[in-house]
């Protein structure tokens, strides 16, 4: 249930840590796993005080940037075709560019398996675990 103003964790190394959803693309309903959304970067990832300059240089996005993202985890339970349900502890996304390639090069955290049906295999290959 990702909709306008929803805050999501960004789980890639693009430099964003918390983003806010401003639009759900290609559907008139709240977004779920595998859906593309438009987000605003609200908080940048910073690794300590001495590493801020290096982290700022490494980060590919800044606070206030408007980017596309793919939802990878949702709190709202999802029903699979075999009847099983999956629910995660938080809402999370991965930033992608306009052509659909992930901006970060690494991901930390579990992602939903629904990405496979929606042709996000690049994100799935970056993720450590999928459930």
């Amino acid at each position: 249930m990702i909709q306008l103003k929803t805050l999501l964790n960004c789980i890639d190394n693009s430099g964003a840590s918390i983003v806010e959803c401003v639009n759900v693309l290609k559907k008139k309903r709240p977004a779920t796993i595998g859906d593309r959304i438009v987000v605003v970067v609200q908080k940048q990832r910073s690794a300590g005080s001495e590493a801020t300059t290096a982290a700022a240089l490494a980060s590919k996005v800044r606070r206030g940037d408007i980017r596309h993202a793919v939802v990878v985890r949702v709190k709202k339970e999802l029903q699979r075709p075999d009847g099983s349900l999956v629910r995660f502890g938080d809402n999370a996304c991965v930033l992608v560019n306009k052509s659909g390639d992930p901006i970060g090069t690494r991901m930390n955290g579990v992602v939903g398996q629904e990405l496979r049906n929606k042709k996000w295999s690049k994100i799935l290959s970056l993720a450590p675990i999928h459930v």
Binding site: F88, V110, P128
Partner: protein, 220 residues
């Protein structure tokens, strides 16, 4: 009340007339009275009077009496408990030995999976899911159980249908250490009671099992 007659001298007269029982109807009867039977028209009534009778009461030789059909046969006679019958037939296909039904029938089978146990579920497609059982829903063929675990510091809950053909096996890794007083352990979602990850418990169980079975893939 004492001031009233002084303000409205004729007010008392009106109240007197209202309380007069003979002028108003105070009660009505609800006793059952039989519906009056229709009085037949006089047999030798001249035809010119017919126009004075309302249309629906006039004799009409063309009108047929309403046909009354018998009620259709009850479906209940054919099958008394259709849902139960379908459940039976489906269980015969999906769980012919009754092993899995016994494994989750926590009301009757004391050795079944119970809430609070840590279980490991393997699926047809290969990747297993481990978790602490939060609830078991006994719903016939749709019996399911809800597991909770933490993967990469993110809580993951998964509800699986017990009789799903996608489920290869369900193994009890660890029994709950104390008897649970609740049927559904939804309080495990609270921060205070959260068991966090059960991955290491399951990993040690898998290692032990491999040592016992010599790397075989048989079930216990």
């Amino acid at each position: 009340m004492a001031a009233l007659p002084a303000m409205r001298p004729l007010g008392c007269l009106r109240s007197l007339s209202l309380s007069n029982p003979s002028s108003t109807v105070d009660s009505f009867s609800t006793a059952y009275s039989k519906r009056p039977e229709r009085v037949p028209l006089p047999p030798n009534m001249p035809e010119q009077f017919l126009s004075q009778i309302p249309l629906r009461f006039r004799p009409d030789p063309d009108r047929e009496p309403l046909k009354i059909y018998p009620a259709p046969p009850s479906a209940r006679k054919a099958c008394k408990d259709p849902v139960g019958a379908i459940t039976e037939s489906q269980l015969a296909v999906l769980d012919p030995t009754g092993e899995r039904k016994a494994m989750f029938d926590y009301r009757r089978n004391p050795r079944s999976v119970k809430t609070g146990d840590i279980v490991r579920v393997t699926f047809k497609n290969g990747d297993p899911f481990n978790g602490i059982v939060m609830s078991i829903k006994l719903r016939g063929i749709e019996t399911s159980f809800l597991m909770r675990n933490e993967l990469t510091r993110v809580a993951v809950e998964m509800s699986v249908k017990v009789f799903s053909p996608n489920v290869n096996s369900v193994e009890i890794v660890q029994r709950s250490e104390k008897k649970r007083r609740r049927a559904r352990l939804y309080f495990l979602r609270d921060k205070k009671h959260d068991r966090r990850s059960v991955e290491n418990i399951v990993a040690s169980y898998v290692r032990q099992k491999k040592a016992f079975l010599g790397g075989g893939n048989r079930r216990r």
